[in-house]
Amino acid sequence: MISLLQSEWFKLRKSKFVFTAILLGPLITFFYALMLQPDTFGLEKRFLWEFLIAFTTLLYALRFLPLTTGILAGLICRYEHQNGGWKQLLALPVTRSRVFLAKYTILMLITLTMQLLYLLAIWTSGVLKGAEEPFPMMLLWKSIFGGWIATLPLLALQLWMSMLFKSFAAPFAVNVVFTLPAILAVNSEKFGPLYPWAQPFLMMYVSGDAENDIFFVPWEQVLTVVGGSFLIFFFGGLLYFRRKENI
């Protein structure tokens, strides 16, 4: 399994745009955060951290996180689709489940890296803006870790779609179609908590009313919406790949 992960990462890191894709979201977040002025919103400087997180999540969690992971899921399957990579890979002594799991694990780790880069972007911009309060580590961990967990089901679906479609554009279109309404969903009390694509934002957005020590949303929501959609997307994709005939 380790060897499969190494091989997968080797193939991916040699692809074009991988590092650009990973860095783009956190980098834009950084510059966006630098431009934000809390006083124009009538906020005191002691709420600077909360302010930065709240505003950047709108951009990062609603847009960059789901779209970038979609691109990466497409990239990790693209080179297999192009010149018979699948059949060559699967004729090696590997099982399909392991191949699926290896690709998923790589995507998971990259997403985690992106979250940490986001954390770095917020921290650096806050320090540059002369934050007086200590860095709210607990708050950010909640947000970083929560956003990562919330992205896992989306990653599974994106991997499934990228395996299903030979073209790069098709799974990306699916991804966009589901991601765009998220901005509407998060404004809805009713649908927001139920919509899987709204979860990265909801779990990253700083709020105090969830009565949850670990996340910004209630446990029921984490378990049912995030956990449920993860099970469906992950095992749907895995089953599809295991049964795929036309390799």
């Binding site: 091989s7 080797f10 193939k11 040699k14 080179y79 018979g84 699967l90 002594p93 099982t95 005939e245």
Partner: protein, 303 residues
């Protein structure tokens, strides 16, 4: 005889169409087994099933004496393959392609240089594969197939798209492998001439059915010589030969002899001349392997 590959009633159905029909392949150890058949006869489907890329509808596959269904991973550790068009990662160099594969196989790094050298790609090792010619890609495919020191090498139409010198090089490589490295080779082609030059054993598939399987010598024996006679009034000549107790075959004003020794031919000619027939031509007719192959595969049509 020890069989490296043995299938039992191997069958693959796509909907109503039967692509592979109750195949009983037997590939003896150390042979170059030529898997021959017209395009669409079911060759690739069979090879895909042997590699576990496709599930058989019915039947079983044993490779190295192990059941493929149960021990796929341990079997594939000792199998190298090149299925249909060469597979490669175009964004990687030749070396990196092999490296991505080596990581999974766990072979030593030196092996990469060794196989690159074997297929004469050492000079192009650090070039991106997308700039390769088809022949170079094909050779890289062979290098990949040899990376794990396989005991069984499965090559699907390996000379497709190669130029003449590439074809000769490939042939020599394939012929060398069983002797030097104790590799059993399964090679498929729709061209008899290809198989004829490298294979020691042949299986002919047509419309999903295996219609011939034996050594290439046995197949050549089928390509027998015929002596044909063109004479005046052939029909009556045939009858008078028959009256003298000489059995022949008459068809379209030509007399074919069963006995082909010099004496027998001389005796027939003498008899005909004595009887007053004019002998115009005494000819040898060769039936090539190609004719036999065509007859075999055409026979498949009636089934």
């Amino acid at each position: 005889m020890e069989y490296i590959v043995e299938t039992h009633h191997l069958t693959k159905r796509f909907g109503k169409e039967i692509a592979v029909n109750a195949l009983n392949l037997k590939i003896p150890r150390g042979e170059v087994y030529g898997f021959l058949g017209p395009n669409g006869a079911g060759k690739s489907t069979t090879l895909r099933m042997l590699l576990g890329l496709m599930r058989p509808t019915a039947g079983s596959i044993r490779i190295f004496g192990k059941d493929l269904k149960k021990e796929r991973i341990s079997i594939l550790r000792n199998v190298g393959s090149l299925v249909e068009s060469p597979s490669y990662y175009s964004h990687l160099t030749a070396y990196e392609n092999l490296e991505a594969m080596r990581k999974i196989l766990g072979s030593p790094k030196e092996k990469i240089d060794e196989v690159l050298d074997l297929v004469r790609l050492s000079n192009a090792a650090d070039k991106k594969v997308k700039s390769f010619s088809l022949g170079m890609k094909q050779r890289l495919g062979i290098a990949m197939a040899l990376l794990n020191d396989p005991k069984l090498l499965i090559l699907d139409e390996p000379t497709n798209g190669l130029d003449p010198s590439g074809i000769i090089e490939m042939r020599n490589l394939i012929k060398r492998l069983p002797k030097e490295k104790d590799i059993t080779v399964l090679i498929s082609s729709h061209l008899l001439s290809e198989i004829d030059q490298v294979a020691t054993y042949v299986g002919v598939i047509s419309k999903g059915k295996l219609i011939f399987q034996d050594s290439i010598k046995a197949m050549r024996n089928k390509a027998q010589l015929k002596i044909r006679l063109k004479v005046s009034d052939a029909n009556n000549a045939y009858r008078s030969l028959l009256a003298k107790g000489i059995k022949t075959h008459y068809q379209d004003h030509i007399i074919y002899l069963y006995e082909q020794s010099d004496e027998a031919v001389a005796a027939v000619v003498e008899t005909l001349v004595d009887e007053g027939y004019s002998v115009y031509r005494v000819e040898e007719e060769h039936q090539s392997l190609e004719d036999i192959f065509l007859k075999m595969t055409a026979g498949g049509d009636d089934r």
